[in-house]
């Protein structure tokens, strides 16, 4: 009979297949939601991305990045342009001639023609290099009115087709060959704004993020990849520099605090106080102390991790089973031997885990550290691209930092089996591939933590 593995059973393992499925889902789930939001137009999409814009003088202009308008505002915008058009009609009929000089009107008319440019390029009605070529755009208008451009009526609304015909008719009356210079001195109608549903620009679609990431980190030709690798190395040097520096002092100090009441009383109260001081608050001080290079950044990562480290390591040291120390004493161990032969080897596995967690902490300080003084590394890229609102460039970098942190932690956790074989004895050490398989099969993220949980 097949063994049953119910999905919901309290503190029982899932079947291997079920566990593997859940592990995969834990990553695919969020990715799926992202895709769903990005690729289904009826899902969220609170913005309209303008394909045809318009200038308007009687509607307050709200600048939105990347031609995005909120869906609420878009009809108001369209109505404003419509009423401007009807005003133009009226002025044509009543006055015959219009306000302002012919030159001003011609320039305004030219602008109105140009609004078709971006869409024309997108639909490949004109080549990309002709986007700013006024005579090409003029020709396009005339061709569209004649019906010589394919697919126009599918892209443009009926309302806009009407406007195209009307404008072309007016333009045909004025000019022939040298079209741009002979635009009508009567105002042309504006195209009614048209757009497509879009998500806010801070949530780019997955494909654009991944292609941006590919370009940034993997494509070598245009030099971006090289630069990004340099940035990455620089960021890594800050993180690991700060982390190792704080290990260098923090681990011995923590072990001493956990071992000798003297050190504990002398250091821990102050360290405990200091860890509540927010590390970023020291940024300007650090720049003043260490000048604006890497030193203040490393110092900030140091401040962010060191004080926690001392306390965590001291605590870990104190948690060592005191009976082991007593046993060692009855065997004749004293002072130096107790520290070197019992305390340090005894706490090593837990210390290793503490340092893994603290390494994660120092990654979180990285971004703030790199903003200190002269911005540098991956953070500078995130900052700059973020300010330009090139969010599709920002996400790959953030994801990369996550992958490095997650990957290195996984690596270190695997490595701990090799360092501390006595923690899970009786098992043959699996190879790399086998380990990956195990990981996928059993969904075990952290064997040590699990082991700890199992212990009473």
């Amino acid at each position: 009979m097949k063994k049953k593995h119910p999905w919901f059973s309290i503190r029982k393992p899932l079947s291997p297949g079920g566990a593997r499925l859940m592990t995969v889902l834990s990553f695919l789930g969020p990715l799926g939601i992202w895709c769903l939001v990005s690729y289904t137009p009826f899902f969220w999409h609170p913005d309209v991305k303008l394909e045809i814009s318009a200038d308007r003088d009687d509607t307050p202009t709200v600048f939105t990045f990347d031609d995005h308008l909120s869906k609420d505002f878009f009809p108001t915008f369209q109505d404003a342009v419509r009423s401007a058009n009807s005003a133009i009609f009226e002025s044509r009929e009543t006055a015959g001639s219009s306000r302002g000089s012919a030159r001003v009107i011609r320039r305004a008319n030219l602008k109105k023609l140009r609004h078709l440019g971006p869409l024309a390029v997108k639909e490949a009605w004109i080549p990309r290099d002709k986007e700013n070529d006024d005579s090409a755009i003029y020709q396009l208008w005339m061709d569209m009115a004649k019906g010589a451009v394919p697919n126009v009526s599918k892209v443009l609304s009926a309302e806009n087709m009407e406007i195209v015909r009307s404008n072309a008719e007016l333009m045909a009356r004025y000019g022939d060959r040298n079209a741009v210079s002979s635009l009508p001195d009567v105002p042309l109608l504006s195209l009614i704004p048209q757009g497509v549903s879009a998500n806010p620009s801070y949530l780019p679609a997955p494909h654009s993020v991944f292609s941006a990431g590919y370009d940034l980190f993997l494509r070598g030709e245009d030099g971006d990849a090289g630069k990004m690798h340099g940035r990455l190395m620089h960021s890594l040097s800050i993180v690991f520099g700060g982390f190792f520096l704080s290990c260098l002092i923090g681990v011995p100090l923590g072990v001493f605090c956990g071992t000798y009441a003297l050190f504990s009383r002398l250091f821990e109260p102050f360290v405990d106080f200091f860890r509540y001081l927010p590390a970023p608050a020291f940024s300007t001080l650090l720049v003043a102390m260490f000048a604006a290079h890497d030193a203040p950044k490393i110092a900030l990562v140091f401040i962010g991790t060191f004080f926690q480290m001392v306390l965590v390591v001291a605590n870990t040291t104190r948690q060592l089973d005191v009976s082991l120390l007593e046993a060692a004493q009855t065997l004749g161990a004293k002072g130096r031997h107790l520290l070197g032969r019992v305390i340090i080897p005894g706490i090593l596995p837990n210390l290793y885990n503490d340092l893994r967690i603290l390494l994660g902490w120092s990654w979180t300080w990285l971004v703030i550290a790199e903003l200190v003084g002269v911005k540098s590394g991956l953070t500078e890229f995130i900052e700059t691209q973020g300010r330009w609102r090139n969010f599709d460039q920002v996400y790959p970098v953030i994801i990369l930092i996550g992958l490095i942190g997650f990957g290195s932690d996984q690596f270190l956790s695997r490595l701990s089996k090799r360092f501390f074989p006595y923690l899970n004895p009786g098992k043959r050490e699996p190879g790399v591939v086998e380990r990956l398989q195990n990981w996928a099969n059993e969904g075990r993220i952290d064997p040590i933590a699990e082991k700890r949980m199992k212990k009473p």
């Binding site: 089973d321 009976s323 082991l324 007593e326 046993a327 060692a328 004493q329 009855t330 065997l331 004749g332 161990a333 004293k334 031997h337 032969r341 019992v342 080897p345 005894g346 090593l348 501390f420 074989p421 006595y422 923690l423 004895p425 009786g426």
Partner: protein, 299 residues
């Protein structure tokens, strides 16, 4: 409950037994406990854990300390080992006062206390190394002690690959490797199941009979105390005082088959009386009402 066998009084020693204990007390005193007191400060005032304890342990003797829970057995052995200090009184080892823990008094704890990061062999080598030994001789020594406790096959195993009994055998080998003047054992088999415990008792008797070692053994198991010991020190609680020192008449060499001999049973009964004076002989009835159907009786 009526007694079916008439047991001899445990004090009725045969001439042979009397001679044995006379010879025992002629041996040099290994450990002398003189007027030992230990008080603990607590929120409700001073608690006397141990009060004016006197006894001697002679060379090669196996002495058990037994008593009801809370009588300060563990405090006593911690003081003997040097891990705790007496409020007053003293402990003399070979005539010298004990100060702090040292390699001359080996100790085996109830909770194994093997170093999990060291293999069996390295665990046994630990004491030898911290006492300045080095090189091949230490390893040879360690292997010899491991062989003595019958664990040669597991010398490269880590402690958490071993069963409780095996761990405790390693702990004994580790303590003996230092060749201590006295071996202190604090309820060493308390965490083991009954079968393993019996086996360990047998092992310990064999070791004691063949190795020059004096043993002070703490237990709460009466059978164990009688089976293993030359003499049993019975403590009473609140405050912890020596109630009686019983000379066990069971002949040597000891083995598990002696558990039903008259000497054994009479000594055991005497211990039972001393430790559980009220309950001796009479079973306590639980206030259980009848909850079975008539005709459903099991007897």
């Amino acid at each position: 409950m009526s007694q079916t066998i008439q047991l001899p009084d445990y004090r009725e020693q045969s001439a042979k037994v009397r001679e044995r204990f006379r010879a025992l007390k002629q041996r040099p005193v290994k450990l002398e406990v003189r007027g030992l007191c230990r008080e603990f400060e607590s929120a409700s005032g001073t608690v006397k854990a141990l009060h004016d304890i006197h006894f001697n342990v002679y060379r090669r003797e196996f002495l058990s300390i037994i008593g009801p829970s809370g009588c300060g057995k563990s405090t006593l052995i911690r003081i003997l080992s040097g891990l705790d200090e007496p409020t007053s009184g003293s402990v003399l080892l070979d005539g010298k006062e004990v100060r702090g823990p040292g390699a001359d008094r080996g100790m085996v704890f109830q909770g194994y206390t093997l170093f999990p990061w060291l293999t069996v062999k390295k665990n046994v080598m630990f004491g030898l190394e911290v006492n300045g030994g080095s090189g091949c001789s230490v390893e040879q020594d360690a292997l010899q002690w491991i062989e003595l406790v019958g664990l040669s096959h597991a010398k490269d195993a880590y402690p958490n690959q071993l069963s409780g009994g095996m761990k405790q055998r390693v702990a004994i080998a580790r303590a003996l490797a230092n060749q201590p003047k006295i071996l202190l054992m604090d309820e060493p088999f308390g965490a083991l199941d009954a079968q393993t415990r019996a086996q360990m008792q047998s092992y310990l008797l064999q070791i004691w009979q063949n190795v020059d070692v004096t043993i002070v053994f703490i237990t709460h198991d009466l059978d164990e105390a009688v089976l293993l010991s030359d003499r049993v020190v019975v403590l009473k609680a609140h405050p912890g005082e020596v109630q009686e020192v019983i000379e066990v008449p069971v002949p040597h060499p000891r083995h598990l088959g002696q558990l039903i001999t008259p000497e054994f049973l009479s000594t055991r009964n005497r211990l039972e009386e001393l430790i559980h004076p009220k309950s001796s002989g009479e079973e306590k009835r639980l206030p259980i009402p009848r909850m079975t159907q008539v005709g459903d009786d099991v007897f």
